[in-house]
Amino acid sequence: MSKAILSILGRDRPGIVAAVSRVLCEQSCNIENVSQTMLQTEFAGIFIVSMPAGMSAAELHRTLESRLSPLALTVHTKPCEHGEAPGTAASEPFVITTRGPDRKGLVADISEVIARHGVNITHLQAVFKGGEEPGDNIMIYEVDVPHAVDVQALAAELRTRARSLQLDLILQHRNIFEALHRI
């Protein structure tokens, strides 16, 4: 059975998930994973679906596009490749948090250091309201740090980079948040 990955973008309003899933159901596609979020006023959803025998991703795309474009939703579809996801090597989950004045290129600069150490970002949340108020400009990277990576070296380099950007940065193992907030 082949799979496809779809991304749906559009101005948020009630009924988007219902519309997309209705089409998928009618096409006998099975939803395996969905992640949906809202950034400011925009809806963004990613679906991984398994398609019935004989259906191609291109065919599914055409159906979705014809049904969803009247709703002003943009659809992107591609075949979903099998294989091991990055970051499944033995690793430890860490969280990098930064606060500081808004500048251009903050995400690019911090994520460059993360990438260079071979560390995969699993979730990224960033809010930049602009201005100099540190609490208004926050980046939260959830990352998987492979065991082979020297955490201390990564932390030191991240802090150096953060200092040059006037950011306050902290790298912490994820378990501390679990311990503090979850039973």
Binding site: Q125, I140, I176, F177, L180, R182
Partner: protein, 457 residues
């Protein structure tokens, strides 16, 4: 995926509310180091501690860094030296204290506890020697802490030991007169001492403990205070039931952090994890104070009417939240009220709102007792012993731990300031009723029998 709120509130606790692990304390069993002459005992004790504690500080620092939570103090607690050094003379025990001090310095721990004796039912030869050695041992060392358990609910109060300790406290202060009697800041006299306290000055490794153990003391008065402030800001009508619930939840969080870090340190060192001590332990910093919690709860200051009830609420909520967070709870577990170590409590003592009698009253509902209380230097040994006896009686009758850490500051009077430095802080000296007077009751000695356990009123 973690929520933004979870992450940001964690950072807030770290940056602005002094969330930390107050101490990771390595317990080291020295019982098999006993026997032979002093050089042999010293060598065996040093080798045992160095063998186990060599990596304690770097491991705590590494794990603290991993979680972004500082482990503020790394400490060692050893078997009671009155047992290990039972065959030694007092001057030899002072030399053994020097060995502990040197070893503590070598492994970079700030305090080492266990210059201790357990004498609630009677004084053995080793106990007498150790108690005699305490004043000098504490004045010639920087890092050695002493504790003596003089009472228990099962045994009663050993008043002979109480009187000896009154004299020990007085002598220790005199030997460190130029430092406001600082040796006394390292000496605790207990009723019902737990075997697994990670906090100083009362930490020692109990006789029933294993070869080595890691115990953790959490902190968190700042976190509790800010949680109360935030809750009352969003709901000014919140009642005390609601506040108790809030403190419980906050204590849960703080305890989980201690347990997480303690277990990992223990695993890294290949040593058994012992307990988390759920205490709210203040430091002499603004925002890290148990005293400020009373003000957040609505009292003018610790010491005014309502204080005992507020502390009862606080202590109980801390225990309930902590007990849910960890299945390995021990030590003192509750709220500490060390006068000089808590800026806010020290101020209350300074402006007369907190007196010795009220302090004694609230120790019936707090986790320890008369802690870091500076009293006039002319208070007699007998009166000091009498204060200790009163504090012991509260513990014995109420089946709880109580302790006295009193500092009769040489040459200073009530109202003067005493400075102990660092974590020990500073305090206004509070007056003692009949401080210089005679006390024939204390001189009678003997044993105050164990209390009856029925007919509880």
């Amino acid at each position: 995926m973690l929520t933004q709120r979870e992450i940001l509130s964690t950072l807030e606790m770290l940056k602005n509310e002094h969330l930390d692990v107050r101490t990771v304390t390595l317990g080291v069993n020295l019982l098999d180091c006993a026997g032979g002459d002093l050089p042999q005992v010293r060598r065996r004790v040093a080798e045992r501690i160095l063998g186990l504690a060599g990596n304690l500080v770097p491991v705590c620092d590494r794990i603290g860094q991993k979680y972004g939570i500082p482990v503020v103090n790394k400490r060692i607690a050893v078997s009671p030296l009155a047992v290990v050094g039972a065959a030694l003379a007092p001057e030899e025990l002072v030399e053994l204290a020097r060995t502990l001090d040197a070893v503590a310095r070598e492994v970079h721990v700030d305090f080492i506890g266990g210059f201790s004796a357990l004498v609630e039912k009677g004084l053995a030869r080793g106990d007498r020697s150790l108690i005699e050695a305490i004043p000098e041992a504490l004045s010639v060392t920087d890092r050695v802490c002493a504790s003596v358990n003089v009472a228990s609910t099962r045994a009663g109060i050993n008043m002979d030991a109480v009187l000896r300790m009154g004299r020990s406290v007085k002598r220790a202060a005199e030997l460190t007169a130029e430092r406001d009697g600082a040796a006394c800041t390292k000496l605790c006299i207990f009723a019902n001492i737990p075997e697994d306290i990670p906090f100083m000055a009362g930490a020692y490794l109990g006789i029933g403990e294993a070869d080595a153990v890691i115990n953790v003391g959490v902190s968190g008065p700042g976190v509790v205070k800010k949680a109360i402030d935030r809750a009352l800001k969003s709901d000014p009508a919140m009642d005390l039931g609601g506040l108790s619930e809030l403190i419980k939840k906050t204590s849960y969080r703080v305890t989980r952090v201690g347990e997480l870090i303690g277990r990992e340190v223990a695993e890294s060192l290949g040593i058994r994890f012992g307990v988390v001590d759920l205490s709210l332990a203040p430091t002499p910093n603004v925002g890290d104070s148990v005293g400020e919690i009373f003000q957040s709860l609505g009292l003018r200051a610790i010491g005014v009417p309502g204080t005992t009830a507020a502390l009862a609420l606080l202590n109980d909520a801390v225990k309930k939240g902590g007990a849910f967070a960890s299945s390995r709870v021990g030590g003192l577990s509750g709220a500490f009220i060390p006068v000089s170590e808590d800026l806010n409590i020290s101020e209350a003592a300074g402006n007369g709102l907190l007196c010795l009698e009220k302090l004694e009253a609230i120790t019936s509902v707090c986790s320890v007792g008369l802690d870091m209380v500076a009293i006039p230097g002319d208070t007699t040994a007998e009166t000091i012993a009498a204060i200790i006896a009163d504090e012991m009686a509260i513990g014995v009758v109420n089946n709880k731990t109580t302790a006295a850490r009193l500092i009769p500051v040489p040459g200073k009077r009530a109202g003067d300031k005493a400075f102990f430095g660092g974590l020990m802080g500073h305090s206004t000296i509070i007056p003692v009723n009949n401080g210089g007077g005679e006390n024939r009751f204390i001189r009678r000695g003997g044993l105050i029998p164990a209390p009856i356990h029925s007919l509880r009123n």
